[in-house]
Amino acid sequence: MLQMSVNSGSDAAPHSAVARTLAQLPEGEAGVLDRLELPDDIARRLMELGFLPGHIIVPARSAPGGEPRVYRVDGSEVALRRETASHLILRPSNGKVSET
């Protein structure tokens, strides 16, 4: 996997130990994306928006009702439905997210 250090880490908080996908990650906690289990065209579209393996993603506010949720990724904010976010798999955390 590619290691990249392009995300601003100002929002980075300790990685939740239980979150396996982006959908499970609590608001404000940083996670490192491992892979996108989505059809190729959707995955490419998300990658163009910054959802790249190795990037740090921080969930921000949700729309009222909890869906969709805004994610801070690669310097911008992108909203995804839970359905899509549950196919973005996070790296297993070992305590803290470090910016490599």
């Binding site: 163009e48 928006l49 729309a63 009222p64 009702g65 969709p68 690669d74």
Partner: protein, 641 residues
């Protein structure tokens, strides 16, 4: 660059703005969504722009002429605004069009002589990714770093000279909305136009373009090389989001915004519309008094003036709607509105981005259908296009107002503020909405079923809308609307007037029943009799296929009253000529039927063929007929009396 001039000369079907001959210098503007591309385009061209579609596709093409200031340079610079894209991998129609234009293979558009690549410098890492495929084209390119004011105020930094060195292209740090640094863009265009700009090879090696992670890493390395320091997060955007996306305040503000838009469209536009109507009436009377009585005066006053005037009266409403949409879009609230609406829209099989087009359709389906371009998913977009004409557009209002005033007593329904007539009107709005969402469900569970619709929406930072951009938008929309009033509607009115006045008997126009229009009315009468409509309504229905509001003018002419101007007379005439069942059925018919040539035309353009408008027209007409039939039977049977 000589080959570029050759293809400018031999291009087929050159767009009007490009027909200046071989000396025309073509510059393409390209950038990711939310980079301020349109703002720059407006800044460079002002009012000298045209909107059309790229040939064969539904992608909007904006072409304009740059206002060149250089005294030594007499070449015209034609600017082509390309769709907002993140890459040139041809997956969407937008990306394919961008690729074709840049490669010079788009028919009618000469290969660009130079490229303006606009990037948001507050997010340079991600936006620089697009520089790789653009620079690999080896066209003279100016890399424009937009939002310089934001970068500075939020404490970011970039070394433009170093970035220019690395990329081998000039770099300009600008603020398109404030006009800062625009002169550098003009200097570049003058340089390329005069042929004095030379290409330097990029110092950095370009990445493999298909590999997004590599491209992103490349962009990061280039940024680091140019001492790029990303700005702090936009504090105001986060503060505003904590209000606008608040679990309780968020939906409340959302409802207030939607209600406010409605209120202003209907109530705020009233004085303007009344003023416009008074002006049209007075000027019509003045013409009638000035010209001697003749067949031409009749055509001019009774036909054109009152008919086209009845349509132009809606201009204030449409402009107000676009003013609101413009403010919402430019400020960044529109993305939040789409986010809030997404969950509800998902229940009907649609998505948040369908919400604004559907709200716009309450003013007019034509701009609404054009606004569906923001929906990337083709099936979602098509579903939105197909249901938009069900929303109660402003053209239905004159018809509703006339029939309701004539047939529904204004008794209080909920206190003094909300009477039966208002209730009936609201009921018709609800009826259209219900038909729209029911159709959406039907479509999305059958022919337009989608497997997994990823809702991906970038949230731009909040910004102040500029008067300049709002003004340009309004001027553009007025032109579209007035063109429609001056072409389609004018044509129908003239044709109708001719049909009403032929065949001439003994030098006199015939009675309406004996005219060609009357014959058409009598011909359709057997089909519409079960709905409770007579042959006069039949003429109205046939004429309203052009545009719904035409029926008011038509009925006015038929009943020998003055149409909307003396609507009391028309009301009386209708009361004696139409049964209550027929009247309610007529309202229901207009709620569902697709009586609008402009909508049919725009659906054909946006869906790229006659198939979908044909299906849509048949479905809506069938539904209208069926529901009007049921309504007439139910009212006639006397259940409600």
């Amino acid at each position: 660059m000589s080959d570029c001039h050759d293809c400018a000369g031999c291009a087929v079907a050159v767009a009007p703005a490009l027909q200046k001959g071989a000396r025309t210098h073509v510059v393409a503007i390209i950038g990711p969504p939310n980079s301020g591309k349109s703002t720059l385009f407006n800044r460079l061209t002002g009012l000298r722009q045209k909107v059309a579609n790229f040939p064969g596709v539904t992608v909007e093409q904006r072409v304009g002429k740059a206002k060149m200031h250089g005294a030594t340079n007499h070449n015209d610079v034609v600017l082509v605004d390309l769709p907002g894209v993140y890459s040139l991998n041809p997956r969407s129609e937008d990306e394919q069009v961008t690729r074709d234009v840049l490669a010079g293979t788009m028919p009618g558009i000469p290969k660009p002589d130079a490229v303006l690549l606009i990037l948001d410098c507050t997010n340079l890492g991600r936006h620089l990714v697009l520089a790789a495929p653009i620079l690999s084209l080896k066209l003279p390119t100016l890399v424009i770093l937009n939002m310089a004011d934001d970068l500075k105020s939020r404490g970011g930094h970039v070394d433009t000279a170093e970035l220019a060195n690395e990329l081998g292209s000039p770099v300009a740090l600008i603020s398109a909305s404030k006009g800062q640094g625009i002169e550098k863009v003009f200097q570049f265009m003058e340089g390329t136009s005069a042929g004095t700009t030379s290409l330097a090879p990029p110092r950095v090696e370009l990445p493999v373009l298909q590999d997004i992670p590599r491209c992103r890493q490349w962009a990061h390395d280039v940024g680091t090389g140019a001492a790029y320091h990303a700005p702090a997060p936009p504090i105001w955007t986060r503060r505003l989001d904590s209000v606008f996306l608040h679990p309780i305040a968020g939906p409340l503000i959302f409802l207030i915004v939607v209600a406010g838009v409605f209120q202003t469209i209907f109530k705020g536009a009233r004085p303007l519309m009344d003023g416009l109507q008074a002006f049209i009436q007075t000027s019509g009377q003045w013409i009638e008094h000035t010209l001697p009585p003749s067949i031409f005066r009749s055509l001019l006053v009774d036909g054109i003036w009152s008919g086209v005037g009845a349509v132009i009266v809606f201009l204030p409403q449409i402009l107000l709607l676009f003013l609101f949409i413009g403010i919402l879009e430019d400020s960044g609230y529109l993305a939040r509105a789409a986010l809030i609406a997404d969950r509800t829209m998902a229940k009907f099989g649609l998505q948040g981005k369908s919400f604004i087009p559907l709200i716009s359709a309450y003013a007019c389906a034509v701009p609404a259908i054009m606004a569906t371009r923001t929906i990337e998913n083709k099936r979602d977009r098509l579903a939105t296009i197909l249901i938009a004409p069900f929303m109660t557009c402003s053209a239905r209002l004159p018809v509703y107002t006339l029939i309701i005033a004539a047939f529904i007593a204004d008794r209080p329904l909920l206190g003094h503020f909300f009477g039966m007539q208002a209730g009936a009107l609201l009921g018709l709005y609800v009826l259209g909405f219900v038909a729209a969402i029911a159709t959406a469900r039907l479509l999305k569970s059958s022919i337009l079923k989608t497997e997994r619709v990823p809702f991906v929406l970038e949230m731009p930072p909040y910004r102040w809308p500029t008067l300049r951009s709002l003004g340009l938008r309004l001027i553009d929309r007025s032109k579209v609307f007035l063109r429609r009033a001056g072409t389609v509607i004018l044509l129908v009115i003239v044709v109708l007037w001719v049909l009403e006045n032929l065949p001439v008997k003994n030098g006199q126009p015939p009675a309406i029943a004996d005219s060609f229009a009357g014959m058409i009315g009598h011909a359709v009468e057997p089909a519409i009799k079960p709905l409770g409509f007579n042959w006069k309504i039949g003429i109205g229905l046939v004429s309203s296929i052009a545009a719904r509001e035409v029926i008011v003018g038509t009925l006015g002419t038929i009943y020998h009253s003055e149409g909307t101007s003396e609507s009391v007379g028309l009301r009386k005439a209708l009361q004696s000529d139409l049964s209550p069942g027929g009247a309610v059925a007529l309202l229901v018919f207009f709620a569902f039927a697709m009586q609008c040539m402009s909508t049919i035309a725009v659906v054909r353009r946006e869906t790229g063929g006659w198939k979908w408008p044909a299906i849509q027209f048949s479905y809506m007409t069938f539904l209208a007929y069926l529901c009007a039939l049921i309504t007439n039977e139910v009212v006639r049977s006397g259940i409600f009396t």
